[in-house]
């Protein structure tokens, strides 16, 4: 059961942070930074939600989650190469980006099912072996990607239609970031709908609460779990593709670099909680953007400080899952 109180408090905290920053930063940079923070939050959320879900459902901690992010980014880049650059015309270019996301989705899913079968399944119930073996899996996937794509940086440009900014008054809002916010909200509401309005979601939530009981009622929790694992890795793949398009330049370490933010988000949000993941992604990304603008040298430790403060306040994370 997710407590209403926690959601209200956390949202209040985030809104307060955004409002406090308005007079400090001045309206223009405030608007730009807040948008940047929101879009970054959405991307982290898309990447991290799978990891937290998999933990919540099956107590599996996948340290190799970053592998799917890298796989997604490379799948998107291969898709663009396959099509031969972006075609002229808004609709076609957008379609290509959608194609990239789909390629990443499929690649992440395939990677996820292989990962689950080969590495995660033999290590159920033993966190230490799980962490070790999935870390090993991440190393192997990164090296295999290097074998196929060379260790050089990969350039993945956005189509022209998604470059540049929209001018509203004298504030320049980047188009791609706006799109990211929209996509992120879509994914979040999709997940929330899935969890709260469908039978499947009900089963998953029930299995998180009490796996044995759901099994006893005759539902295949294993199958559910594999489905969730593959969905999570597909989402990570999509997130990786979107992240790569945002940066337009990436190497094989894109996944392990993203893991840093993902860990911070997952721990502060409350391991296993999807809404916790969403809200802590918002908090983390906003703090990261504001601090980097205000005082860059502090940016590395600001997030650690934030995580420490949250853990001292709520050791189970911002929006904890009951029974854990």
């Amino acid at each position: 059961m997710i407590h209403q109180k926690h959601i209200v408090e956390t949202s209040a905290l985030i809104v307060a942070l955004i409002l406090v920053m308005l007079p400090i930063l001045g309206f223009e940079s405030w608007a730009v930074l807040t948008l940047a923070g929101l879009s970054m939050a959405m991307m982290i959320f898309i990447m991290a939600s799978g990891m937290t879900l998999v933990f919540g459902l099956m107590d599996v901690l996948n340290f190799g989650h970053g592998a799917f992010i890298a796989v997604g980014a490379y799948a998107a880049a291969s898709m663009v190469t396959l099509v031969g650059g972006y075609p002229i015309g808004t609709v076609l270019a957008i379609l290509t980006v959608v194609g990239c996301a789909l390629a990443a989705l499929v690649a992440g899913g395939i990677g996820g099912s292989l990962f689950e079968r080969l590495l995660v399944r033999p290590t159920y119930g033993n966190h230490m072996r799980q962490i070790l073996i999935t870390t090993g899996g991440l190393i192997i996937v990164e090296q295999v990607l290097i074998v196929f794509f060379s260790p050089r940086e990969i350039v993945l440009l956005r189509p022209e239609e998604l470059q540049g900014s929209l001018l509203i008054g004298n504030i320049a809002l980047e188009k791609y970031r706006l799109l990211m916010v929209a996509i992120g909200l879509l994914v979040f509401s999709g997940l929330i709908l899935l969890f709260n309005r469908t039978k499947l979601g009900l089963l998953i939530r029930a299995a998180v609460e009490n796996r044995k009981m759901v099994e006893a009622l005759g539902y295949p929790v294993r199958g559910l779990f594999i489905g969730v694992f593959i969905t999570g890795s597909s989402l990570a793949g999509v997130g990786g593709a979107l992240w790569a398009l945002q940066q337009e330049l990436f190497t094989v370490t894109i996944g392990s670099e993203a893991m840093l933010l993902i860990f911070i988000v997952v721990v502060t949000g409350g391991l296993g909680s999807v809404s916790g993941c969403f809200f802590s992604a918002l908090l983390t990304a906003l703090v990261a953007n504001y601090v980097t603008f205000l005082y860059p040298p502090l940016s590395a430790f600001a997030l650690i400080g934030m995580m420490a403060a949250v853990l001292l306040w709520r050791p189970q994370g911002l929006i904890p899952v009951a029974n854990r």
Binding site: L61, F63, L119, P122, T123, H127, M128, R129, I131, L132, I133, T135, G136, G137, I139, I140, Q143, V144, I146, V147, F148, P151, T253, S256, M259, L260, F263, I264, V266, V267, L271, P296, P297, S299, A300, F301, L303, I304, M307, A308, L311, L312, P315, Q316
Partner: protein, 362 residues
């Protein structure tokens, strides 16, 4: 006497004992039986890494907590010595001051991280140490005025440790007795002492509490041991040993940079070595380190040969010498699968099986 030195934790396998003895003798005699500076630097690297990996094993194998910040503590030790020697001159006073401050910083960090994250389930420790060590390496790059940033620091060491310093006019057994040789033996003896100390910690009552916590936290708590306290102390002990190894490395290399101390590569190396060598037996660190570091030195040639033998672009890609991490990673995963106790566990199992068979026969 030997038994006492090894804290009554004997190798428990004849083959293991023989291998350890060979490694020990080789490390003592390296300057005299192998020629060239490369073998000496490999031997010194082995000494330093044995301590680093063995201290990691105290956390991973005994306490059962995974840390991704072990390379960070190694780096803290190395950078404290490096900064002291670079900033304040090359005397022994500065060296010892650097060592002392490094130890204090490492202990503070370890205690802070421990009390913050070990209150929660131990899996949080893995994630939080990952985040903290990342933040620290970013900070090291950013504060380039102090740390040299990406370039790292080069500095002088006390005159007595330099290869230009000669103790004897005449070479002994054809080897010149230089400061470099003295430094090698200092590194060797320090590493040996730290290794024996780790063995002592692992086999002390404290080590038993750690193992008990790993096996059954709830029961250990019920007997009256506070998990947070014991795990944090283990983390502090491991961190100080890692920092000590870092100090040795800083003096030996006369250079301290990110890629020799805190890089992801080093962190991965430590993890791979400890698992391949054998978790939960300090001796595993020795076998694993020797295997991996010697392989690192010579695997390149083997991989090139295999790649040329097969031909074909993807084969040369797979057997490219820069892809050795791929093979090490596969070995690592297979180890976690089939030999969770690593090489040492495997050797001990062979010995135990042999004893059982002997008893059955008699």
């Amino acid at each position: 006497m030997l038994n006492r030195l090894l804290s009554y934790d004997l190798p428990r396998s004849r083959l293991l004992a023989v291998l350890l003895a060979i490694i020990f003798v080789c490390l003592i005699l390296t300057p005299f039986i192998f020629t060239g500076t490369k073998s000496l630097s490999i031997a010194a690297k082995i000494c330093i890494f044995v301590v680093l990996v063995a201290s990691y094993d105290l956390l991973l194998g005994y306490a059962g907590i995974i840390s991704f910040a072990h390379a960070m503590f190694f780096g803290i030790g190395a950078y404290s010595v490096a900064i002291a020697l670079e900033r304040f001159g090359t005397g022994f006073t500065q060296l010892f001051l650097g060592m002392g401050s490094g130890l204090v910083i490492a202990l503070l960090f370890a205690a802070l991280i421990g009390f913050l994250s070990l209150r929660l389930r131990t899996i949080f420790f893995a994630m939080i140490t990952f985040a903290v060590s990342n933040a620290v390496s970013v900070t090291v790059i950013q504060s380039y005025k102090l740390t040299g940033g990406e370039d790292g620091l080069s500095y002088n060491i006390p005159q007595i440790f330099k290869s230009s310093y000669r103790f004897l006019e005449e070479p002994v057994f054809g080897v010149a007795i230089t400061g470099k040789l003295l430094l090698y033996y200092v590194v060797f003896v320090c590493s040996l002492v730290m290794f024996l100390l780790l063995l002592r910690i692992a086999n002390s009552p404290f080590g038993s509490v750690l193992r008990a916590l790993r096996e059954n936290e709830f029961r250990t708590m019920a007997i009256g041991y506070a998990p947070v306290l014991y795990r944090t102390l283990a983390s502090c002990a491991a961190a100080s040993m890692a920092a000590g190894a870092g100090m040795l490395s800083a003096v030996w290399l006369r250079y301290t940079g990110l890629e020799t101390t805190m890089s992801v590569d080093i962190a991965i190396d430590i993890l791979l070595i400890v698992v391949i060598g054998g978790m939960g037996s300090i001796y595993g660190a020795v076998l694993g380190t020797v295997l991996v570091i010697v392989a690192q030195g010579y695997l390149r040639e083997i991989l090139i040969a295999i790649g040329e033998f097969f031909g074909g672009w993807w084969m040369t890609g797979l057997f490219n010498p820069d892809r050795w991490l791929l093979w090490l990673g596969l070995l690592f995963v297979l180890c976690v699968y089939f030999f969770p106790q690593g090489i040492v566990g495997w050797l001990r199992k062979i010995e135990a099986d042999r004893l059982i068979r002997q008893q059955a026969q008699s």
